[in-house]
């Protein structure tokens, strides 16, 4: 236990790095997910096919292999990436490929009637997507997105293997210095668990906030309040 206390500052730094990696790759993941997911829905094959290949390749090869490739193999093409960059890139692209399926599925499963209503009102496809289809798809996307993000958070531990000084990296270093394994690893296990739990709570809050009948809920609450006060 003493090792944990002694090395707390280092562990704390590691935790911050983990969160940084998670946030950066999470943002990249979202961008990639929408770009690839929407591209997959395009009726132009020049757009949907490359997106499809990207998704299959990044889903079909292991995240660790991708990370190592970007860090160790890319230099052979003259591109030397900073470890953090390679790590965030690999994480963002990999999880983005999975999340693209979520985006595609949520949008494609929007009731056909919505698209038809938009056509009947003369809306162009881009307008249709932007104002009607995507806003409606967000609530359906949130739960699976939440899972992807938790996955991403757990996968940040892999960046320790390309020398990024995250929580796992620090723990390994402390272990090799002090030989104290139990306390250190238990601590970081709990830390990761706490982080993923918080993330799950955040997703739940987002789900409630973006619920489709949120306005109905708000209006209902307002009416209830008025009724309590005795207003007509």
């Amino acid at each position: 236990m003493s090792a944990v206390i002694d090395y707390a500052p280092l562990l704390w730094q590691g935790l911050l790095t983990t969160i940084l990696v998670a946030v950066l790759s999470g943002a990249l993941c979202l961008v990639v997910a929408f770009a690839a997911g929407l591209a997959r829905l395009s009726s132009h094959r020049l757009i949907s096919w490359p997106a499809g290949i990207f998704i299959e390749v990044f889903r079909g090869t292991s995240l660790l292999v991708q990370m190592f490739w970007l860090f160790f193999a890319l230099p052979f093409f003259g591109v030397q990436l900073h470890p953090l960059t390679a790590a965030v890139l690999a994480l963002g692209l990999n999880e983005g490929a999975y999340a693209a399926e979520v985006v595609r599925g949520a949008i494609a499963s929007r009731a056909k009637g919505q698209t038809e209503a938009c056509i009947a009102l003369g809306m162009e496809p881009a307008l249709r997507l932007r104002r009607i289809i995507i806003p409606q798809s967000i609530p359906a996307m949130l739960p699976p997105f939440g899972n992807v993000m938790v996955d991403l958070l757990k996968n940040t531990s892999l960046v320790s293997l390309v020398t990024v000084a995250d929580l796992t990296f620090r723990a390994q270093m402390i272990r090799s210095t002090t030989g104290q394994t139990t306390a250190i690893f238990l601590t970081i296990l709990v830390a990761y668990f706490a982080l993923s739990y918080l993330l799950t709570l955040l997703t739940g809050w987002l789900e409630r906030r973006f619920a489709l009948d949120r306005k109905a809920l708000a209006a209902q609450r307002k009416e209830n309040r008025l009724m309590k006060v005795g207003a007509a």
Binding site: E116, I119, A120, M123, E124, Q136, A216
Partner: protein, 271 residues
């Protein structure tokens, strides 16, 4: 429109006043091996209120869907208000053209399942297309929307979302939404079929109002026979991808000329 004294050819060629607002010329639609529309010739005059009746699978909904560009004809010519909507030769690949998009603006549709945007209020549902498609200013759009909501009797529900409204109310909002685009032709695809019986009346009232007070062309597919009889200028009986009989409601309902029309009405009006 004289009632004919001899059996009509299966594809009733109804020639009306010279400039029909809707014209179908030799329009066919195939779903694989199934011929949903068979070389249909069909016209509607401006301001006419036409009801289409017939069994399911007869192709009557397909006519509306082709007009609304929700489906493409396998072959044939469709014009709206003189402009070409569809001009398809068999085997040719069909692409959406600028011409099609512009002509489409003249047509509106009310769906069986309402298809309101669930994440928007009634007001927002109605102003969405006028603002983003017609380029109307927001204030003007909102004013117009308020008028339309009052017209359909839902002024108080301006800020309600679809989950907060009954089916009848939703359908009335859907009608207002379609009207906001000032279409020349308004299509109704079985507008009351998805409603609880007690809510049908309020929607029919709105449609009746429209029929009596506007000169908008209205084309309605419906099973509400009494209503069709009441408001239509013309009723068309469809079966098997072709128009079986066409004529004023009095003739179709009281004195149908074709055997197919007779059997259909007998079955439908029994209960």
């Amino acid at each position: 429109m004289r009632p004919s004294t001899e059996p009509q050819p299966l594809s009733a060629d109804v020639a009306l006043a010279p400039d029909p607002i809707i014209r179908f010329q030799n329009v066919s639609k195939n779903w694989g091996a199934n011929q949903v529309l068979k070389s249909l010739n069909f016209e509607v005059a401006p301001g006419e209120k036409v009801s289409i009746i017939g069994p399911s699978g007869s192709g009557k909904t397909t006519i509306l869907r082709i007009l609304m560009t929700l489906e493409t004809p396998t072959e044939g010519l469709v014009t709206v208000d003189g402009d070409t909507l569809w001009d398809v030769t068999a085997g040719q690949k069909v692409r959406e053209t600028k011409q099609l998009r512009e002509t489409r603006r003249k047509i509106g549709m009310v769906f069986q399942q309402f298809n309101l945007f669930p994440h928007m209020t009634a007001m927002e549902n109605i102003i969405e297309a006028p603002i983003h498609v017609l380029g109307m200013g927001k204030a003007e759009a909102k004013e117009r929307a308020a008028d339309l909501l009052n017209l359909v009797g839902l002024g108080k529900h301006m800020n309600h979302t679809p989950p907060q409204m009954s089916g009848g109310q939703q359908q009335r909002v859907a009608i207002a939404r379609a009207l906001a685009m000032r279409p020349k032709v308004l299509l109704f695809d079985e507008p009351t079929s998805a409603l609880d019986p007690e809510l049908i009346g309020e929607v029919l009232n709105v449609i009746r109002n429209l029929a009596h007070t506007t000169d908008m062309t209205m084309l309605m597919v419906t099973h509400e026979m009494r209503f069709a009889e009441e408001i239509s200028d013309r009723v068309v009986m469809f079966d098997n991808g072709a128009a079986v009989e066409s004529g004023p409601p009095a003739q179709i309902f009281k004195d149908p000329q074709q055997e197919r029309t007779r059997t259909f009405l007998r079955a439908v009006l029994q209960h």
